[in-house]
């Protein structure tokens, strides 16, 4: 394996500088790094082999998207150890912040299949059911176990705030946005049909989720070390938006506008992660929602170089290294590609480098490290 300048033994994170770069007050000599989510399959070998830490897995215990969190004494100890690892990882890999997200308990249907990605061993991959939602009627809506926000929902957030190294910031959001949870609860096919067959039910479920996230964000914004909210809500796929743009404007963007307003009232930025071909909505994101930054750019759908030209002077742009290239290019080719992105996107600032979407299990560890190594040059 190549020699990397990682992990950094004595990092000097500076979250205030990161935010200043993102809002254009500082033009850096090299862009800072950003990441949205990093899979255990990539984190584990780095934590074990490069940072010499004991791996702790909590994926079967801690709620991620929509599952019930378990805070029994035994599990709290495990969760703390897991969080210590998370902080160490983001700190020593050169980030100015840690990003972790959790969600409220919103049970839905899932399917499982063996994960074919390298490095995941005999793990399974969980797939959201695309045609069988748990809410298909008003009766289902009434009977659904809608959760109430509780203090323990913010245990991991408070732990991170209490244990952040000097200079590190904390970026989070509700795991899963309004549209994403609607597609979990109604299924994608179900929401598509209900959008036309029963728009009142569609709106009722949407607003119920939207309101829960709004209340959740209010709690997040009370955290003293919170830097900003980077909310995920995937509205697109490779060739268009998942539902007509006018319906996204009508049902979902008003909620994002409220979340952005909450952040701005507290003097915090609001960034949006939204995958797929959503360029038709960019002006709405910027002018109506008033996002401060946008994450998720993939070469085949929304190249970051084009985004820089179109919107780079109005909002900050995050990520942009194509996940397919991260997964498949040889390290030497990957370095060339990353240098090209930096060359085109770094001038003028308001750009942080990282994966176009996230670091899933199928990104080779060497390629992930190559991206960071090149960014640190």
């Amino acid at each position: 394996m190549t020699e990397f300048k990682l992990p950094i033994e004595k990092p000097k994170p500076d979250i205030e500088r990161f935010v200043s770069i993102m809002n254009g007050k500082i033009i850096p000599d090299k862009p800072p790094m950003v990441e949205y989510l990093i899979d255990d399959a990539v984190m584990k070998p780095i934590l074990q082999n490069m940072l010499g830490r004991k791996w702790v897995s909590i994926s079967d215990k801690l709620g991620y998207i929509g599952d019930q969190m378990n805070f029994s004494k035994e599990n709290t100890e495990k969760t703390n150890a897991w969080l210590d690892n998370q902080i160490a990882f983001w700190y020593h890999m050169g980030y100015d912040f840690i990003r972790i997200e959790a969600s409220l308990t919103l049970p839905a249907m899932s399917s499982w299949v063996s994960d074919t990605a390298k490095g995941t061993g005999d793990q399974i991959r969980v797939w959201q059911d695309e045609s069988k939602g748990v809410i298909r009627s008003w009766d289902d809506f009434e009977k659904y176990p809608w959760t109430r926000i509780k203090e323990e929902d913010f245990y991991i957030h408070r732990y991170i705030c209490d244990h952040l190294p000097d200079g590190m910031g904390f970026i989070t959001c509700h795991a899963g946005g309004v549209f994403e949870h609607l597609s979990r609860l109604m299924s994608y096919e179900g929401l598509c049909l209900n959008l036309i067959d029963d728009p009142t039910l569609f709106k009722a479920v949407t607003d119920k989720i939207g309101e829960l996230i709004y209340k959740y964000d209010k709690h997040l914004l009370e955290l003293d070390k919170l830097t900003l909210i980077l909310q995920g809500d995937d509205f697109g796929y490779s060739t268009q938006t998942l539902i007509p743009p006018e319906d996204i404007r009508k049902y979902f963007l008003p909620w994002h506008k409220k979340y952005a307003q909450l952040c701005h009232e507290k003097g915090k930025p609001y960034y949006l992660h939204s995958c797929g071909k959503v360029d038709v909505l960019m002006e709405d994101f910027i002018n109506y929602v008033k996002i401060d930054g946008k994450h998720s750019f993939q070469d085949g759908v929304a190249p970051i170089i084009d985004a820089k030209k179109n919107w780079g002077d109005r909002i900050c742009l995050l990520g942009g290294i194509d996940v397919d290239k991260l997964a498949r290019l040889e390290p030497s080719e990957l370095r060339k590609y990353i240098r090209q992105i930096i060359k085109k996107c770094a001038p003028g600032g308001r750009f942080a480098i990282g994966a176009g979407n996230s670091i899933p299990s199928y990104i080779p560890v060497e390629n992930y490290l190559t991206m960071l190594d090149e960014a640190l040059k």
């Binding site: 399917s111 299949v113 063996s114 994960d115 074919t116 990605a117 390298k118 991959r125 797939w127 695309e130 045609s131 994608y188 096919e189 598509c192 049909l193 959008l195 036309i196 067959d197 796929y237 490779s238 060739t239 268009q240 938006t241 998942l242 539902i243 007509p244 319906d247 085949g300 996940v323 397919d324 997964a327 498949r328 899933p360 299990s361 199928y362």
Partner: protein
């Protein structure tokens, strides 16, 4: 023809009640079922496909158009003769092993049916040997493979290698599609074609068969 326009319009706006009623009325007036299919339903789905490709229609609208098409087909199907249904080839579609993504493949299936093909949908997480077995069993000349992830799209090559290396199936055309796919990747694994969306997949199938 004007008498079929109402049926095509019902398909385009996704009105499954109207599509069924109009189909029944046309059949009651002694029009051949295959003519209703060819002159009303297929042109309707063709418009849906073209509008979808041009981003003038979106998946929810395509799904209800397909539902309207199915409603009409329920009336027509029992009346179609064998020779009517064999006018176009059978096509096998499926999502490759390790992948449970369904929607993209289903849209391709709907569009192909709308264009008059007989679609055999093998579902999701389909092992390579299942594709080979079904090709032989059904005598199809084309299969379509779908994948959502970079990690699962590598299974496409396994299927293509299996199909192309078997004398009995080596002439079968294999087309691929899915979010992480590109023409370049399709070429690199020996696929006969790649389509970026469901509507283009229909054009591709037509050009290959």
């Amino acid at each position: 023809m004007a008498k079929y326009q109402n049926l095509a319009d019902a398909i385009i706006r996704g009105d499954n009640i109207a599509s069924k009623e109009i189909t029944q009325k046309l059949l009651d007036s002694n029009i051949y079922p295959v003519e209703v299919l060819n002159e009303g339903l297929m042109p309707g789905m063709d418009v849906v496909g073209r509008k979808f490709k041009a981003n003038e229609m979106y998946i929810p609208e395509v799904l209800i158009a397909a539902r309207a098409m199915h409603a009409a087909m329920e009336v027509i199907k029992p009346l179609l003769s064998k020779s009517d249904t064999n006018t176009k080839s059978k096509v096998i579609i499926g999502t490759v092993q390790g992948d449970l993504h369904d929607i993209g493949k289903n849209l391709v299936g709907m569009m192909l049916e709308g264009a008059g093909f007989t679609v055999i949908d093998l579902g999701v997480d389909v092992p390579p040997e299942k594709f080979a077995e079904e090709i032989k069993k059904n005598g199809v000349k084309l299969i379509g493979l779908s994948a959502l992830l970079t990690t699962t799209m590598t299974s496409m090559k396994t299927v293509i290698d299996a199909v192309k290396s078997d004398k009995e199936t080596s002439s079968v055309k294999v087309i691929v599609g899915g979010a992480p796919l590109t023409q370049e990747y399709a070429d690199s694994i020996g696929a006969d074609g790649y389509a970026p969306d469901a509507s283009s997949a229909v054009d591709l199938v037509k050009s290959l068969l």
